[in-house]
């Protein structure tokens, strides 16, 4: 109660002297809450609350078909995951290794393409941009059928193009993309490149915020294209690159759809495609271990969270926010 009177008296007092400063701050706070609340309410109800429930799940031995037989087992699921289940660490290693391969490639290609698509004098921008984004829009079912076809060792056009260069690629002794433990990651990276439309578009949107006079000034100073790219473009779009990096990292940790559909989650060949989320899916839905599945999901969440926070920690050093005056 006293707090209220105090702030009210402040306002009254402020009316006399520097009214603007005080009321503005309070107004700003009020508006802050106003603007945040729709998202906050939805988030609390539909994400935070179910998350807490899932944390409780991790302490149960629990099957969805017979929920009444759920049994409280304390931290058994966690112990099993951390110390007994070897697949956890193997699949985690596969996932992280693949992330280090695919993420840099995808981000660099997407950035360079966005720069090209943003060139001032490019004709047919709309057509080019649509073409590069379009594969991202192909419905999942159709795109998987297409890629199985594309990488077919006998008939796929990837092997045919390689044969043009005089390398034996087609047939039984050729490049069997989905059967070879080494080639399969390359095939996955390639499939991933068809999905970089989103990243390109974010980069494109980011490039629109770079003031053109910066480039003009750089040209007058005799800076090369590459210098402009490195000294102007990169810092100016770093908030957007940061977004791509964070989401890319999280997305890589949750890599699932491609290996799941192409190899049915079997881990074939040689367990190389047993990514962490595949392991999670098998435990949760094939073996119906809801409690253990929730524990696995929490582990990947904690890892993703640590990675995200670490990235936010480094962002102070390399992400440049042009708009922030008080820094």
């Amino acid at each position: 109660m006293s707090v209220v009177t105090e702030s009210t008296s402040q306002v009254i007092a402020a009316r006399g002297h520097n009214r603007r400063v005080l009321t503005n701050r309070q107004r700003e706070e009020r508006w802050g809450f106003f603007f945040i609340s729709p998202w906050l309410i939805g988030f609390a109800l539909f994400t935070l609350f179910p998350m807490i429930a899932s944390l409780i799940f991790t302490t149960y031995d629990f099957t969805l078909s017979v929920p009444d037989e759920a049994k409280f087992i304390g931290l058994d699921n966690w112990r099993r995951m951390l110390f007994e289940d070897e697949t956890v660490w193997r699949s985690l290693w596969i996932t992280i290794r693949y992330a280090f391969l695919s993420l840099p490639i995808g981000m660099i290609v997407a950035f360079l393409l966005a720069v090209l698509l943003n060139s001032k004098h490019l004709m047919g921008k709309a057509v080019f941009r649509t073409l590069f984004y379009a594969p991202t829009m192909i419905p999942g079912i159709a795109s998987i059928l297409i890629f199985v076809q594309v990488f077919n060792p006998y008939t796929g056009w990837v092997n045919r193009i390689i044969e043009v260069f005089g390398i034996k690629a087609m047939g039984v002794t050729g490049l069997r993309w989905f059967d070879d433990p080494n080639l399969i990651y390359l095939a996955f990276v390639f499939i991933g490149l068809y999905g970089i439309g989103n990243t390109i578009v974010i980069n494109l949107a980011g490039l629109q915020g770079v003031p053109t006079e910066l480039y003009e000034a750089a040209t007058i100073d005799g800076a090369s294209w590459f210098t402009s790219l490195y000294r102007i473009t990169l810092p100016m779009v770093s908030p957007v690159i940061f977004y791509n990096l964070v989401l890319g990292t999280i997305g890589s940790l949750q890599y699932f759809t491609v290996p799941f559909v192409i190899n049915g989650g079997s881990g074939y060949p040689d367990g190389t495609t047993e990514f962490f989320m595949i392991h999670f899916f098998k435990q949760t839905f094939r073996f119906s271990n809801m409690g253990y599945g929730a524990t696995l999901a929490w582990l990947i969440f904690v890892i993703a969270l640590v990675a995200t926070l670490a990235l936010f920690g480094t962002s102070r050093r390399w992400v440049y926010y042009a708009g922030e005056s008080n820094r």
């Binding site: 107004r27 945040i36 539909f46 649509t130 003031p211 989401l247 042009a322």
Partner: protein, 292 residues
Amino acid sequence: MERLLTLSFLSTSITLRSLFKFKMGKLLTYAALIILAFFMLLPFLWMVSASLKLDKDVFRFPIEWIPSKPEWSNYTTIWTRIPFMTFFGNSLKLTVIITLLQLCTSSFAAYAFAKLKFPGRDWLFLAYVGSIAIPWQVYMVPQFILMRQFDLVDSHLSLILLQAFSAFGVFLLRQFFVSIPDDILDAARIDGMSEYGIFFRIMLPLSKPALATLTIFTSVAVWNDFMGPLIYLNSQNLKTIQLGLRMFIQQYGADYALIMAAALVSLIPVIALFLLLQRFFVEGIASTGVKG
């Protein structure tokens, strides 16, 4: 005089050189883009080709890129085999509603995070940063149980509620909002504009590329969402296009030609949307005229 001559000489040589470099750069840009675009186009060419074949010929080798007898009837069959029109309408309804809601909630929250100071903001931001890292699988099951409690399973409302609040959207817009100079906002505040007015009359107009981006992403994601409708929608009259596509696999054996035809038709609205919105990716000059 001499100095002037040298200067003019220098400047001509610079323009000539830069002209040459400019032409080469342009040529290389086009070459690279055309080659890459061709690769991006290949899956579509294959889809179009497959959609005009009899199912038995889809995987025949060597690929007959242009079918000798195109089966145009595939494009009429898809509308009669399954209630494709209903599914189309359902997808459209969900996409429009969810996208609009997400634009509202995300831009509101992003504005608060980027430009307003209020107690607890940093804690909220931390929670929100964490929430981006949550795999959907973590809360998928509890969420379903919650929706069952609300008696919303097998309704469009369940999907709308679940997808209207996106941490991705907030993060995306925040990254753009932060780059808009504080000075503009302060100037508007001093002029007596309300936060509401600043948001609608300054932030949103200056963030058109970002808003266009989020619109495209959300629309495509909802339009192509498979797991959500699979889990929440059971009634035939509520189902969406993606579930419809799968019907060509389940109920009638896999008819790949029809899947491709239906998938291509389903792409038309999203491609149209993209073409419409990509014009917002024009040379924006968000900070011109203001010292950032």
